[in-house]
Symmetry: C2
Subunit: 317 residues, 2 copies
């Protein structure tokens, strides 16, 4: 099977890894590209020089297409963009900002641009900005998330109603059935965060991976909505946030409580009580750490199996 997403990136499977802070270095991105998907280096947690190093390493680790995810609120964004252009990266996923700011420059340099949105209103803005595709990310996704709280199931058909360009579904997808469901709803590809964050090749700390694998359904929550909404595991730090929010803490008070570097502390350094443990709702579906190749193969096998069974479903009119 081929579609606009496999054609756009010249990939075998329309499976893209999330550009996740502290998880998505060259090793994870290369493994995803080598497995037939599109691997993304997550630049959000990298200094510009570190990003350059990761780009140079991935070029050695794979000859397949890879991309870089850039949060547009990154303080030295111009440096990141320069490095991406200099290093001739072919694909950039942007998020958390206005798609108009950098799309033209990137496209003039022959780069495919995809922007992440959580509403159809922003999907329309992306189309106007000339991006090649969008990621539609639902409420169930881990980490930073939209204010509308629209779920993947409700968001995809909304976006298909107002745009005609290719849509990649994100949030709540970790299996072949999840991927097939997203494609039934009009997606032409899926972005998978949680499952890859918990893979062997993810650079997240083993403590973080094991904690995330152990959670049950309902043990993540979207919080810090007065600053930037983020989905976290309900650990000690979360409980303090919850208590503060329950009492009506202001954005400023929450910013103080949050401090700096908590995502690194939790995800990369493995401090399970004081760190921000960013993960999606589907973490509770995942039971063990696997290599990326196995994750991708299992998704595709389940997808094919379910797709072949589904056409037996037909109701009399």
């Amino acid at each position: 099977m081929k579609n606009r997403i496999t054609d756009l990136f010249q990939i075998k499977y329309p499976i893209i890894s999330g550009g996740m802070v502290w998880c998505s270095g060259w090793r994870l991105a290369a493994a995803v590209s080598n497995a037939g998907g599109l691997g993304l280096i997550g630049a959000g947690s990298m200094y510009p020089d570190i990003l350059r190093e990761h780009i140079r390493k991935i070029k050695i680790a794979t000859n397949k297409t890879f991309g870089v995810n850039v949060p547009l609120l990154y303080p030295e964004i111009d440096k990141l963009i320069s490095i991406i252009i200099e290093e001739k990266v072919k694909v950039v996923f942007t998020s958390a900002g206005n798609p108009k700011t950098w799309t033209s420059l990137l496209k003039e340099n022959g780069i495919k641009v995809v922007h992440v949105v959580s509403s159809s209103k922003f999907a329309v803005k992306c189309e106007e900005a000339g991006v090649d595709a969008i990621v539609a990310e639902g409420f169930e996704a881990g980490g930073h998330n939209g204010r509308e709280e629209t779920t993947t199931l409700a968001l995809l058909p909304q976006i298909k109603q107002v745009t005609s360009f290719p849509v990649i579904a994100a949030g709540g997808i970790a299996t072949g059935n999840g991927m097939l469901a997203a494609m039934v709803l009009g997606a032409e590809g899926v972005q998978i965060g949680t499952a890859f964050a918990l893979s062997e090749e993810s650079s997240a700390h083993i403590n973080f991976k094991q904690r995330a694998l152990s959670i049950k359904e309902g043990e993540t929550a979207l919080c810090l909505k007065k600053i930037t909404p983020v989905r976290l595991i309900k650990n000690e730090f979360y409980k303090r946030v919850e208590e503060a929010e329950c009492k009506g803490a202001t954005a400023e008070e929450l910013r103080e409580l949050l401090g700096r570097g908590r995502a690194k502390l939790g995800i990369f350094e493995g401090n399970l009580e004081e760190g921000e443990l960013e993960i999606g709702q589907v973490a509770s579906l995942i039971k063990k750490i696997k290599p990326v190749k196995q994750i991708v193969d299992e998704i595709i096998q389940e997808f094919n199996q379910s797709a072949s069974e589904i056409n037996k479903l037909e109701f009399p009119l």
Copy 2:
């Protein structure tokens, strides 16, 4: 196509209408059953005598199976249950309470029992209680909702992992593609609230229907979480709730702000500013008021069309 849900209720399509307060009287329920699905009378907003009246009317309006939805927190629940047994209703959907309390009595009287849950933990309790099937309701659903905030996409596979009995998906489903996506994720039927609440046969006020049809994505929110979480349209009343919650209002303060009868005021009497306007996220997908028969036929047509196309999707391994 037949499955455990169509067999259980002896229905043509595994489409069940939500038991929605102030929307689901005998007229809506009969229309859904006559269209090939399973119509439910929503007893939550009815005095016991009114429920009896609706049951007697639906028996005249359809010879197909219908059911009654009973919120288990209803104050005079024993009266409702007696009427249901006396009137020989064949199907009861229970929600908002412990499934163990009434399931045995209902089943001894030959009644099929389905319980609504929003987590796999409660799904297991339902299986232990001996219900015939469950409804798995996601975060995107309208009206009262679970505390875990798990979305339909994330919830369905979780529930399939821990139970083996038939699952009906609810929340975020208003189209044939949504129904097919839910079935890909393991559901054997769907419960549709929003689309039927906005149908011709719904007893909701025309003001409510028109307001719900006009909303854009992101214009509903889950609120009143310190009392009972409920998804509402963001109207004047919601804004007062939001403001109070933002400042850390207690459950008691919120209960006072809520007062009594706001769902009736909004949905049945059409007071768009002061009422609670309960509706699901998919309302923004729906553009006009249609008769139930047309809604069901369009869902089935889209479902069949998509199911027949989906088997062309196959990836090389």
